[in-house]
Symmetry: C2
Subunit: 354 residues, 2 copies
Amino acid sequence: MEKNQTVDMLSGLSCPVPITDYKTVLLAHGGGGRLTHQLIEKMFLSQFDNPLLAPLHDGAVFTLGNTTLALSTDGYVVNPLFFPGGDIGELAVNGTVNDLAMCGANPKYLSVGFILEEGLPMEDLWRVVQSMKSAAQRAGVELATGDTKVVDKGKGDRMFVTTTGIGVIPPGRTINPRNARPGDNIIVNGPIAVHGIAIMSVREGLEFETAIASDTAPLNGLVDAMFGAGELHVLRDPTRGGVASALNEIAGSAGVGIFITEEAIPLTDDVRGACEILGLDPLYVANEGKLLAFVPPDSTSAVLDAMHRHPLGRDAVVIGSVVQDHPRVVVMKTGIGGTRVVDMLSGEQLPRIC
Amino acid sequence: MEKNQTVDMLSGLSCPVPITDYKTVLLAHGGGGRLTHQLIEKMFLSQFDNPLLAPLHDGAVFTLGNTTLALSTDGYVVNPLFFPGGDIGELAVNGTVNDLAMCGANPKYLSVGFILEEGLPMEDLWRVVQSMKSAAQRAGVELATGDTKVVDKGKGDRMFVTTTGIGVIPPGRTINPRNARPGDNIIVNGPIAVHGIAIMSVREGLEFETAIASDTAPLNGLVDAMFGAGELHVLRDPTRGGVASALNEIAGSAGVGIFITEEAIPLTDDVRGACEILGLDPLYVANEGKLLAFVPPDSTSAVLDAMHRHPLGRDAVVIGSVVQDHPRVVVMKTGIGGTRVVDMLSGEQLPRIC
């Protein structure tokens, strides 16, 4: 107990640790599923409770002067650093751009924090920097400021990148997971589970006829086109925890039921095959460059049309809808005709996927 | 060469790595001295060159709508996580608050990115979260959004924290390191080298009559009082690399000479003693809760008076001035009457001090 005595001496805990069922941090606390949510709710929201954090959005929304802004941050710890279709730098730019877009914001400026492990080849850092530059240009954002720290060899893993973005929300856009309404159609912009399988294929040494490449991409242009076409209630990029966890979050936030149809969910043959080999359910596999949109019935066909005209929305389809039944529960009609509850990811399916 | 071939196959380097004298990242690249500057200039500015990054400010300054904003980010990798006078959480809040204040901004919202090592005691995370909450309250900022990633045991070091802050710059404030002008007096708000020595004392097991406690503190209130009293040209918090590196950065940015007087630089007896034992020059030791202000002669006495009335400025003194001679060089009149050039920190004096 000597350690605890030191703890008390130095600062003292003013109240008991709220996560009593886990004494230490597990990989699953970062996995985007049930344990991540428990950590956020019990540890962070209990201390930082404020109207900005409460919506469990992809970012915070606030007004400064006459402008409504969104602020979003994400750490990137993906392993490996370089993979088919992208690298940690591109992921870090696109991921934060997309979190802002999912708040209805036009992303403007990004900050970048590097935590480098001593001994990292300069060439690897240089490749990542070049990749961030081109990703920022593609997304139309500026890398405005940054910071670099170096930790001793063995105390990091080559490179961690944290990006934070600021964007402007045009007047009239009110995107919020709480806005999901019975009747809303749920659209996905293309095949799911691609990013997670691309990373896993590299790690597991799986070979396919053509390599599965990550679908990382900036979605702000697609989102702009969608706003131009009709009304949107909720936007969400189903990254860690996959489509299943994202839908559960939204069902929980809005207090609504969600019904999806397995056969409607787009999946490439390669990804389907890899999921079978790896024993993974594609609904729980991480995506990049994919979004879920909750669109009222009136606007659905116009929004779908606009998506189909955009390179990143060509394969957009409706995969389900919001229902009045089974509030806070996601139910799926399976391929063989039955229905099953689709729960949030529990545990860590794929560590360090982003 | 197999690795390089893979590199080229995957993405290809479009131009040679600019840091040819170092093949890998060294601890000193994160130390805030000469190698940090080389990395920023050769690697980051060459790719991200834009008017926001160019001033080498503590943050980026831009206008959205009718509001001028500052954005700043910093990673915190301090070891140990808990130390006399503070912890990584308090440091992460105050550090980013201060970087914004050094741009002349009123800090408003912070984002927090945690990178946790599997196995971190929940209690340690909880202490840090509580500490961030109270630091945010003291500084008057809101923790608006966050992210948590977990890396496998042995691939991190318990906890890294990256905070990013957004603040509003009131009309008429134009703080920039380029604004240093011959004649400006250079004020420091109190004894230097305290934070670095507090950390080193713990690491080295040094004992003093009373423990040296970190001087971490939010400086936005003090800065507000200073703006209320007179004109300010440059503000800088001399963290990594210490007072010497900060003065060299400003002398370089503005193309001016700086002359300081050793006897004027405030130093406590404990810190002086510890520096002697550890063989450290206090001018290169990291500070928190300290600022350097470049103030035109007309405003100096009013600004000093305002500082003396603030708890964090009670010991404020003039330590030197900007001169026309020796542009870009910092010269110090030593205690024994001679003069010497005070260079930027070269190498890494104190790894993982913040």
